[in-house]
Structure formats: C-alpha cells, structure tokens
C-alpha cells in the first residue's frame, strides 16, 4: 500500500493467458495415458466428463498427486451410498483450468467401515469437501485435520444422505 495511485489496469483486449483450445466434438485421445491410473475415455456429450478411472481406496492420494502435477484442480469430492451393494462410492471430480479437461476418479469402500485417506495435504480445498462428505455419509477421511460437522449442527451425530437414514 504505497502513497501513490497505481495506474488503472487497461481494459483487456485479449485474455491474459492464451484461451484454451476449443474441445473437439469427438472423444479426444486420452491425454493422461502416461499416468499409471486406469483412465478410460468417456463420451463427454452424454456423461459430462472426458476421463473416468476407478481405483483402490489406498490409491486416491497417489491419483491426486499425479493430477496435481498435471495441473488439474479439484472440482469436488462426494459420496454415493450404494445400500444394496453394501458399499459407498467416493467420487473425486477434477477439472483443468487451462485445457478444460474433466476427469473423474472413483473408489469404493465397504459401508460398515467407510474409511479412505484424506486428500487435504495434496489439495487444501479437499478439506471442506471431505468434511461435508463425512457429514452426509459418515465416511471417515484418515489423516484429516478436523472432521467436525461442517453443514450440520456441531453436535450432529446423524448422517442424512445415507439411504437408511430416518429423521
């Protein structure tokens, strides 16, 4: 905060960074094929994401580190309660701010003991997403600094988005 007025930023004629290439309508070749993750291309016009990988719960941190190195940003973390199969699915959505790619990483954990390592050391933004997923599903994120309720009251001990939840 100096005493002089800084000149106003000029109105932009072009974006500061090169605009991302317009994506082609047919499925693109897998740009993450060099990573040791089982990415498969998905039909973007149907699914809304380009790449999809299902990994073991112990591999999600490695996946996050690789995505971080590739320049991806964490979109969201959520859970899906598959009551009939006795499993919960943790879904990690990633997007690339430069190239506009969308990638999804999934992991399935047993419903009776839902635990999965935390991503908050790799992506600090995962902190709140994991707290919310814990609120809604009861999934414990091992190594998370503070898994207290985020959207529910501080003394909440229920997990409302589980399929067997009754108010």
């Amino acid at each position: 905060m100096n005493g002089k007025d800084t000149p106003l930023a000029p109105a932009p004629a072009a974006p500061a960074t090169p605009a991302p290439a317009a994506p082609a309508p047919e499925p693109r070749p897998n740009p993450l094929a060099h990573l040791p993750l089982p990415f498969q291309t998905a039909d973007y016009s149907l699914k809304g994401y380009h790449l999809d990988a299902t990994v073991q719960p112990g591999q999600v941190v490695l996946a996050a580190q690789l995505m971080d190195r590739e320049g991806f940003s964490l979109d969201t973390i959520t859970g899906v309660d598959w009551l009939a199969q006795g499993q919960m699915e943790v879904v990690y959505d990633y997007f690339h701010p430069g190239r506009g790619f969308r990638a999804v990483v999934r992991a399935r954990i047993p419903r009776e003991n839902p635990e999965i390592p935390t991503l908050s050391q790799v992506f600090p933004g995962a902190n709140w997403h994991e707290r919310e997923t814990h609120d809604f599903f009861g999934i414990r994120f091992l190594g998370h600094p503070d898994l207290s309720p985020f959207l529910l009251p501080e003394d909440a001990d229920y997990h409302p988005l589980r399929k067997d939840f009754t108010a």
């Binding site: 905060m1 007025d5 800084t6 106003l8 930023a9 109105a11 932009p12 004629a13 072009a14 974006p15 500061a16 960074t17 605009a19 991302p20 317009a22 994506p23 016009s45 149907l46 699914k47 809304g48 994401y49 320049g71 940003s73 964490l74 979109d75 969201t76 959520t78 899906v80 309660d81 879904v91 959505d93 997007f95 701010p97 430069g98 190239r99 506009g100 969308r102 992506f123 600090p124 933004g125 902190n127 709140w128 997403h129 809604f136 309720p149 985020f150 959207l151 529910l152 009251p153 409302p160 988005l161």
Partner: protein
Amino acid sequence: MIVNEPNPPGSAATAPNETFVLNLGPQHPATHGVLRVKMTMDGECVLRAEPVCGYIHRMQEKMGENRTYAQYLPNTSRIDYLSAMTYTHAFVGAVERAARIQVPPRAEYIRVITSELNRISSHLVWWGAFLLDLGGFTPLLYAFDDREMILDLLEGITGARLTYCYYRFGGLYNDVDETFLKGTRQFVLHMRPRLKMYRALVTDNVILRKRLIGIGPISPELCRKYGATGPVIRGSGVAYDVRKAEPYSVYPELDFDIPAFPEGDSMARYLVRMEEIAQSLRLIEQALDKLPAGPVMAEKVPRVLKLPAGDYCYAVEAARGRFMVRLVSDNKEIPYRVKLRTPCLSNLSLFEEASRGMLLADALALMGSLDLVIPDIDR
C-alpha cells in the same frame, strides 16, 4: 499514580501480547447471509479466520432424492437465488444430456439471453452490496434501479422476479414476446452509458482504489489448489470460463471475450465483474440478432422422465463461478443422488489462507470481493 514514567506497570505497553477471538456473524451486515467467521485477532490483524457454515443448510441434495426431476426444478433456483437462471440451466442440461433430448435452437438462444440478463442482475447486486460493505450507500440504489429494469423484463416472460423456474426439460415453457425483445434491446442501450457512469463515479474513485488495490492478493496456484473459479480465478490471471472451456448451449456460436486481470487483488476481481457485465451485454445483442424462429419446446419429451442408470454431469458458468450438477440415476423417476458443486464453497475455502495477517477491514473487503451467497455454500 506515577504520571511521569514512560511505561508504567499495568499500561497497555507492558501488557503481555494476547490474541482474542472475534465472532463475525451469523447475523452481520457484511456477511451477505448467514455466515459465521471465527476470527482470531491480534489487535486489528487477523491471525486466523475460520468460517463456520451450515446456518442456512436447506437439504437441497437430500431433497433431490425425494423429488422427481420436474419437481426438483424450483429447488435449483433457490441454491443461488441471484443467479437462478444459470443454476436451472445446469440441472435441466444434465437431464437433457442424460436423456438425449435435443433442445430447439430458439430455446437455446432465449436461454442464453435470459442467463446473461440474470448474470448482469447478479453482478449489479454484488456491486451494490460490496460498496455497501466498503461504506458507500449510493451505488446500491443505482444498481437496484438498473436491476429493476431487468426484473421487469424477466417477470414479463417468466412471472417471477427472483426465483424463476423458466427452463423445462427440452426447452422453455413460454415463448418470449415483442415486449421482451424490444425491452431487452432498450435495456442494452440504457446499460452501456450507465457502465461508463459507474466507472467514473465508483471505479475511478480514489477511495475505492485505495481500499482495493493490493488488498487480498490471491495467486493462481492458490485458486487451483482450492478449486476456486469464476471471477476469483479470472482476477488472478487465468482465463478459465466454463462457457469456453466446456462449451454448452449456443455459446460456441457467439463471440465474446473472457476478461482476466493478472494482479490477483480485490481490484482485479472487481474489474473482472464490471467487464463481464459489458461482455454479457455483447452476448445479449448477438443472441437477439441471431434469434431464430421456431418452437421453444422439444417435441417428444416424456411426461415422466427416467434417466438410464449411471452418472451424468453438466457444468455452467454461473455468476459466481463454475456450477456443476452431478446426477446419479438408477433408472427410476427420482434421482438416486444429486450432487451440486457450487462455486462459493470453493471460493470461500481459500479465505482462511488468503486472509492471514490482514487488517479486519481489508479482510472484509476480500470477502466481499469473493462475492458470496451463503445458501450456495450450505445448499
């Protein structure tokens, strides 16, 4: 009492350094809703700002599992009520994508026009409220005056002022009339000189510039680590906009720029939004010129929608950033899971790290420049 000693015992100079916790909210004029921030302060400096959310948690995701797809449409407007059209667009788009419903071009163009009008009205509310936080009351009145013109236009076709439910699966339920088209053109002509006036009155104002330039710097790497999008990441120099990165609707056929300013401070985010209003006016004019004749509703849309099993996503550029709907379906009438990826949650999550060491007033200026709508975070 010893009066001549420079630092008598018991005076503030000899007191041990203490921090205290200041509770901001949940009822507070500057938090734009019910946000509580527990601030650990050292005098006037913020050591740690910890947002506490959940005071307006309205179970939007749980309601997605209790409502059919059509019954859920009013909920989408109430997640971020200032940018309601764009949120409905995302949900409707996800269902259309999954059910492979083709929307007629006239409906797509009208969706773009109404979404961009909604974006302008959202930015106007942000502008008025932000300047109210900084201490200026007048711009709020100007902003709401312009916004009333937009609301009149949208009320004429949708019947609602704030929480529209205009889009349907396959198009729109109501076509636009001549009043709307003429009124929108007049609004665009009215708004451009108003933007110039806002620039002269507010943006070039030395008090505003001293309050915003250099305040709250956010690096692009911080944005990427927290998933921040919208004007927050564009104010840090990264020109990421869902309308260009994952084009949807008829945005590929329209010509517009993505404003991005590299400084990363609150002034950059402010200028991004003001420039976005100008770009939205440009988009509206082009869409009005290119508006084709034809139906506004797809022909064979099933009454009772059942999406094939699987998960589907649709992302839009809402006024505050990237909004994505993730639908998980198990081939029933009601969704299995509705996940709403909202921009304000990611944008606010970097507040704790970005506000360390700032003065309290500057921290509030930073929070205002993030443009938060709290029901967007709490859903």
